[in-house]
Symmetry: C2
Subunit: 389 residues, 2 copies
């Protein structure tokens, strides 16, 4: 029998660093060519396997593969596509194994979130049942930072850095204009059911008066009156109010503040537009001039400001997945399991994902000093009427 | 009489680099202490002069002033506040001169856009009329890149870089998900009446099929049917469609696509929310899944990705303004003029503002290679049914 190959696929929403994981999987396999001959990458995720539309990564040079470490998005294409339950659609699983068999694929590396881990597990079960056992490994990825077992997820650190720095930068802008212009700024961030990304906005501040002044989490029911009271207080006390709101912010009854009414392939409600809802609420009730930003895909694709630790971890989980597959195999082709948790623990528990680096050359010190200037060292008034205008 | 002082104020919407100009003004004055004793900065722009609320920059250390080069926002506070015509509100101008006189201010450096240049000119006239002539110099600043006389404006280059890179990054994200998820992505950018910022989105592409596929300019009337036709074509041809839309995009009759109905202190209509309008139009007519981002203040405060050339130019115009003031004076305290155009020509005509730097270490090459992978080098199908799913 010819040498065993591996199949790698990206799944679900991509991140600024998922390609670093792809890079690691391919590079680590190349270092173990005596064990795994090639990595076939699914074009558009698992769909690439079902339609037998795969990319032969052996055709790519070492420098092309190395370059994957630096790009956002999913280089091979990802997919929001969930395999149904085995009972409901056995044919689809059989088709998958048929393709794996045809290309002698003994390893399936599935790079995604919770739904993908579920799929990897099912494929593992089916492959064993059909007599062509495939070692299935889930490799964690999600900007939401909410995968079970993990302590942090590749993709999150970079979004966190983006949100923290964007909040800080925009807040300096708003503060400088607040007397005569915008007083309330709302930044909408991702995180459907997990407030990690919204919480990252809080990294922008070091003291209680620092922005963001309000963070609206999906986990904490939104209370309109309390919210408006706090906005009013902030504007009175600090002249401005910066709010970071999760796309998943919702009322006590579970209703999202902004619900587009559509659902994706996994049946999840498609959200968007909570920032204008919150901003208009402020305007209607308090009359403050507002601005809002919706970071949307910009936040999860911002490779230009990716966290160095996140890039390193994204690479590490890919590398660990291949090593684990090879170690777990131990000469037994039939050793298959979904080792999500173990992959993670091997690569991940090395420290915090997030390093809040200074902006530019002297950024952190500069911002500290700027705030101090703003606090300010006045010229004593000496003209006749010092408060006329 | 004691030594002459200078007054520096920031005006209008701030930029990622306006503080670099403040830094230059103060540092250049410090190099000429025998001519100008101190720079008083207006707290919240011109309002700081009217209310005699000024910051004594001599109290700040050299390192604090140097740090200004690295922060976004307006370090001393800016203002959207327009002095009325001299005939309408002579008292206000007289008040300004009274404060200038009290603090022996012989130089007025006003860092802003078109409205600020107008104010600087008026102050110059009134000061002469009132027998306390002040040398008034406008220093250009605007993200919109639309100031008369200038060939490019400090602040624009950094927004252009932000928009180009954000468009490119988000487009890679959308492309990788397009088969099963979002097909249309809309990025809303600033530029009320000038399409320079929207056009900067175009720097993301190098070939006709590269994103953005559509740019909606404020200068070109929006035609719904043609727009929808093009979106449909793009999705058919490229699988996805990336649209950059200016906040000022409008119909042939001049009506903005999204009009909030409010006006700022200068009587300008306050805009916002054109992205959801465009996105919903696509959805209602073509049914494509969309995402949209509203960059808002994030784009103009993104100091973390500021253009190095822009920072350099922002510093250069501040330096040039002080040098020009000193040269124009020639020992005559009374030499006053609004030298906007000349300041600009001195500092600015040194090349293009925008340098589209590669992302990360090997970013440009990586993105090129990623697109090529995506074009892709397939594994020949060898299983029984290659197109089943």
């Amino acid at each position: 029998m010819s040498k065993i190959n591996a199949f790698y696929a990206q799944s679900g929403g991509v991140t600024a660093v998922i390609n670093a994981t792809a890079c690691a999987v391919i590079e680590t396999v190349r270092k173990n060519r005596h064990r795994i001959a090639n990595v076939y990458a699914g074009h558009n995720g698992i769909i690439g396997a079902l339609t037998e539309n795969m990319i032969d990564t052996n055709k790519e040079s070492a420098s092309t593969i190395a370059a994957l470490r630096h790009t956002p998005g999913g280089a091979f294409g990802s997919a929001r596509y969930k395999l149904k339950g085995i009972e409901e659609n056995r044919a689809q699983y059989e088709r998958l194994i048929e393709v794996f068999k045809a290309h002698n694929i003994g390893y399936f590396f599935y790079n995604g979130g919770n739904d993908s881990m579920d799929t990897a597990h099912k494929v593992s079960l089916v492959s064993k049942h059909l007599g062509f056992p495939v070692t299935c490994l889930g490799i964690p990825k999600t900007v939401d930072n909410d995968l079970p077992v993990t302590d942090n997820c590749p993709g999150f650190g970079s979004v966190a850095k983006y949100v923290a720095i964007s909040t800080q930068e925009a807040a300096l802008d708003v503060l400088s204009m607040a007397e005569t212009s915008t007083k309330v700024f709302v930044l909408e961030v991702m995180g459907r059911h997990a407030g990690w990304i919204a919480a990252a906005g809080g990294l922008a501040g070091t003291t209680p008066e620092d922005p963001p002044h309000i963070i609206l989490f999906p986990e904490i029911p939104f209370k309109k009156a309390a919210f408006l009271k706090r906005v009013k207080e902030c504007v009175k006390k600090y002249q401005y109010c910066v709010i970071v709101v999760s796309e998943g912010a919702c009322y006590a009854n579970g209703k999202f503040l902004a619900e587009a009414g559509t659902r994706d392939a996994f049946g999840h409600t498609q959200l968007g537009g909570v920032a204008p809802v919150v901003a208009n609420m402020v305007r209607e009730n308090l009359g403050f001039k507002y601005h809002y930003a919706v970071a949307d895909y910009l936040q999860r694709s911002a490779r230009h400001i990716a966290s160095a630790v996140d890039v390193k971890q994204a690479y590490a989980v890919g590398e660990a997945a291949v090593k684990f597959a090879l170690a777990g195999k131990n000469g037994r082709h039939a050793d298959h399991q979904t080792c999500f948790g173990r992959t993670v623990s091997m690569a991940h528990r090395r420290g915090a994902t997030f390093t809040h680096r200074q902006q530019g050359e002297n950024g952190a010190a500069a911002i500290h000093q700027q705030r101090r200037i703003f606090d300010h060292r006045s010229v004593p008034p000496i003209s006749a009427a010092s408060d006329s205008r």
